[in-house]
C-alpha cells in the first residue's frame, strides 16, 4: 500500500513539473527583442541601466544594437530590428508614413547642450538661444566639431544653423567628422573646440570641456519608440516590441529613467513628462 502511494505521488509530482515547464515555455513565443537605437542613447549608458530590470520583469531578452540615427532607422526597413528607440521626429514620421511602423511613442526628453573650451573665446556662455551661440562661434571663427553623420543630433544641429540661414560647410573652423557622439567629444577635447552634444553622453564621457549653454528652447530633444510592423518580415517580434514599449512607458520605468544619472552626476539626464 505504502509503495503504491509513494509511486503515485512521484508520478503526480513529475506530471505537475512537466506541465508547469510546458506552461512556462508557452508564455513567450519569441523571447528575443531586437532593439535598434542610436549611438547617443547607447553612449549615455541608459539602456545598460534599464536592460536587466526589463529582462527580469518581463522574461524577454533584449538585444540592443546602436548606430547613427540613419542606420538605426534603416534597420527597421531591412527587417533587422523589432523596435526602434530614436530621437529624430521628422525621420520617424517619414518611417511611419512609409508604413514600416504603426506609431511613434514619445516617452522621454532631454536637452542638447553646447560645450567647449573653459576659456570660451567666442563668448557663448550666457546667451539665450543656441542660434545666438552658433552665431557667436561663426563670428569668432572658433573651431566647432560637428557629427556630420545625419544622426538625430546632427539634424538638430543643422536645424539651428538653418534657422540662422547660415551654412557652415567648408568653413575652416567647421570640423565635420562623420562619427558618433563619443568620438566627436574626443575630437573636441583634443582640439579644445566647441561642439553640440546631448548632455548624457557629455557627462558620461571623460573630457575637459566645459558646459557652456543648456536648456534653451531650441535645444529640446525628444526620444520616441516605434514598434516595427510584422507585415513585411513575418518573423518580426511585434509582441515583444509592444511589450517593450509598454514596459518603458510604465510608471516604474519612467521613474527609473528620471532617476538615471542623479547619483553619479548629481542631476537627471533624461526627463519624463
Amino acid at each position: 500500500m505504502k509503495y503504491v502511494f509513494k509511486k503515485f505521488l512521484f508520478v503526480l509530482i513529475l506530471g505537475v513539473m512537466i506541465l508547469s515547464l510546458a506552461a512556462c515555455a508557452k508564455k513567450i513565443e519569441n523571447p528575443v527583442i531586437r532593439l535598434s537605437t542610436t549611438t547617443s542613447v547607447n553612449d549615455s549608458g541608459l539602456m545598460a541601466y534599464l536592460q536587466p530590470v526589463f529582462e527580469a520583469d518581463t522574461g524577454y531578452t533584449l538585444e540592443v544594437t546602436s548606430a547613427g540615427t540613419g542606420a538605426a532607422i534603416e534597420k527597421g526597413r531591412t527587417g533587422d530590428a523589432d523596435a526602434l528607440l530614436v530621437h529624430a521626429k521628422a525621420s520617424e514620421e517619414e518611417f511611419i508614413g512609409e508604413g514600416y511602423g504603426e506609431e511613434r511613442v514619445p516617452f522621454m526628453y532631454n536637452f542638447f547642450v553646447i560645450v567647449g573650451p573653459e576659456a570660451d573665446p567666442a563668448g557663448v556662455k550666457g546667451v539665450a538661444t543656441a542660434a545666438e551661440a552658433f552665431q557667436k562661434i561663426a563670428d569668432a571663427g572658433a573651431t566647432f566639431i560637428s557629427r556630420g553623420d545625419d544622426s538625430g543630433t546632427h539634424k538638430a544641429e543643422l536645424k539651428i544653423w538653418g534657422a540662422m540661414g547660415y551654412d557652415p560647410t567648408g568653413q575652416p573652423w567647421y570640423v565635420s567628422v562623420g562619427d558618433s557622439m563619443g568620438r566627436v567629444l574626443t575630437v573636441a577635447d583634443e582640439m579644445v573646440a566647441y561642439t553640440f552634444t546631448d548632455k548624457a553622453t557629455y557627462l558620461a564621457h571623460d573630457n575637459a570641456l566645459s558646459l557652456l549653454l543648456e536648456e534653451t528652447d531650441d535645444m529640446k530633444n525628444t526620444y520616441a519608440m516605434i514598434a516595427i510592423k510584422p507585415e513585411r518580415y513575418p518573423d518580426t517580434n511585434y509582441e515583444g516590441a509592444q511589450a517593450f514599449i509598454e514596459w518603458m512607458t510604465s510608471e516604474k520605468a519612467l521613474k527609473l529613467i528620471a532617476e538615471y544619472g542623479v547619483e553619479e552626476y548629481g542631476e537627471q539626464l533624461f526627463f519624463v513628462p
Binding site: 548606430a67 547613427g68 540613419g70 542606420a71 538605426a72 532607422i73 534603416e74 534597420k75 556630420g148 553623420d149 545625419d150 567648408g170 570640423v175 565635420s176 567628422v177 562623420g178 562619427d179 558618433s180 575630437v187 577635447d189 583634443e190 582640439m191 579644445v192
Partner: protein
Amino acid sequence: MQTLLEAFRLLLGADPELRQIIAVTMQMSLLSTGISALLGIPLGVLIGANDFKAKRLVNRLLHTLMGLPPVVAGLIVFLLLSRSGPLGTFKLLYSVTAMVIAQVVLITPIITGLTANVVSIKAPLIRETAAGIGLSPFRRMLYTIYECRVPFVSNILAGFGRAIAEVGAVQMVGGNVQFKTRIMTTAIMMQTNMGHFEFAIALGIVLLLISFLVNSLVGRIQEKTLSA
C-alpha cells in the same frame, strides 16, 4: 546592379568631394609606402644578408611587428600625438601627417620582413660576386637592391596595398575629418554607419578599381623589366 551603376556614376560624375577623398587617399598611401620602403629596404637587406648574434631575436621581433594589430599601432600613435601626450605640442593629431606616421609604423616592418626573406636567399651568391668584384659594404647593398629589384617592387606593392586598405589606425589618428583627413576606407565606414549601404559599396568598388589599376601598372613595369 543598382550598386554597379552607382559606382560608375560616382567614377564618371567627378563629384569634387569624392575626387578630393581619392586625392588624399593616394597622397597618404604613396607617402607612407615611400617612407616605409626607404626605411625598410636597407634595413631588410642588412638583416637578410648578414649573420649576427641577435639575428634570431631580431627576426622574432620583426615578425611580431609585421603582425602588429593596426588598432594597437593607431592607439600608440594617438597617445603620442594627443594634446596630453609627449608630442602634443606639435598638434599633429587629426592630420594627414598623423595618418602617415601610423601607417609607416605598420608598413615598415612588413617591407623589412619581406625584403629580409628575399635577400637571405640570394645573399650567399651576392656576397661571392661582391667579394669577387671588390665592392664596399655600401656598394654591396646597392648591388643587392639592384639584383633583387623585381621582388623588391612586389614587396613595395604589398606595402602599398596595405596602406590603401588601412582603416582602423587612420580613423583613430586621422579623425575622418571632412575635406581634410577623410579617405576612401574611412568614408566607406562612415557611409555604412549612416545606413547608406549602396553608396558605401559603390565607394568600395572604386577603391578596388584604384588598387587594380596600381597593381596592373606595376605589373606591366615588372614584365618589361624581366623581358629586358
